[in-house]
């Protein structure tokens, strides 16, 4: 059988990540990873604990992480789960088993999204060119995550550190989004 399994091409290949503005804001691709859309009735928050080592966050717009896994609250019965690349079937199977008693749905979206990191002293300034949320630490603390808009794309935005954010975006919008962020940071060029 023809084998393409080693010929994986991300949409981030060939996009412009470096910029004269890097000292102020860096934009970097996030390596491939497993992603699951996890849905379920109440009870699922704790049911997953044996797999993840933590309960799903039940407070709106918060995240939980442990060594390999992260679970981001994106809706009252919806989490975006990430795990190392190539583990999606294993994790899914483990979750199916752990959640057997609670109505739930697990869907593989590893390739639907791509991840970006945006960091640096002017990261929130650049994000503010397309996102109306308040990035003050009091309003958007480290660890907060949410779906929102960035320019004309929907993204999940996750604050990893004071000046570092993860952006999850649907793959075909990545090209536009990088273009948008590059245009927004142009003025910061040294």
């Amino acid at each position: 059988m023809v084998d393409i399994s080693s010929d994986r091409r991300t949409v981030l290949d060939g996009l412009q990540f470096t910029s004269p503005a890097d000292a102020e804001v860096r934009i970097e691709p996030v390596a491939a990873m497993s992603r699951l859309a996890l849905r379920g009735r109440p009870g699922i928050e704790t049911a997953v604990a044996p797999v993840f080592g933590f309960n799903l966050p039940s407070t709106a717009c918060t995240s939980a992480t442990a060594a390999e896994y992260a679970a981001l609250w994106v809706g009252p019965d919806e989490w975006l789960v990430t795990a190392p690349d190539g583990r999606v079937d294993v994790v899914k199977a483990a979750l199916e088993e752990a959640c057997a008693g609670v109505p739930h749905a697990i869907t593989d979206i590893s390739h639907r999204n791509v991840g970006l990191t945006i960091s640096g002293p002017k990261a929130t300034w650049v994000l503010s060119h397309g996102c109306p949320l308040d990035f003050d630490l009091a309003a958007f603390p480290v660890g907060m995550c949410t779906r929102t808009l960035l320019g004309r794309t929907e993204v999940v935005l996750w604050r990893r550190a004071e000046d570092t954010f993860r952006i999850e975006v649907w793959r075909t919008f990545a090209d536009y989004l990088i273009g948008f962020l590059n245009e927004a940071r142009k003025e910061l060029a040294a």
Binding site: C61, G75, P76, E78, P132, L133, T146, L149
Partner: protein, 100 residues
């Protein structure tokens, strides 16, 4: 751009939301039982009030939830928002409250 209080996520900018029409136009369990008149009424006729309206929104670029809101269509200010399934608030009481 309005600020809308999502019952799940809190106050968020309007562009994350989508308006979804008049609220509490319930779909009966058995639609068979509706008369033609009722069908047409549900489909097309709207109260479209000037003043307090009860409407649905979806936090489409946020948590994805549909929810209900009471809004003043003259000022566009929201009086309250609440989750789908919760009872319709007493508008008269809200009006009295707003007047204060």
């Amino acid at each position: 751009m309005l600020i809308i209080n999502c019952p799940y996520c809190g106050a968020r900018p309007e562009v994350e939301f989508r308006h979804a029409g008049e609220a509490h136009v319930a779909r009966p369990a058995g639609t068979e039982s509706l008369t033609d008149e009722e069908v047409v009424d549900r489909l097309y006729f709207r109260s479209n009030p000037k003043g307090m309206t009860v409407e649905r929104w979806r936090h489409v670029h946020g948590c994805g939830r549909f929810f209900n809101a009471v809004r003043d269509t003259v000022s566009d200010f929201f009086v309250t928002t609440y989750k789908t399934g919760e009872p319709k608030p007493d508008l008269e009481a809200l009006k009295a409250g707003a007047a204060k």
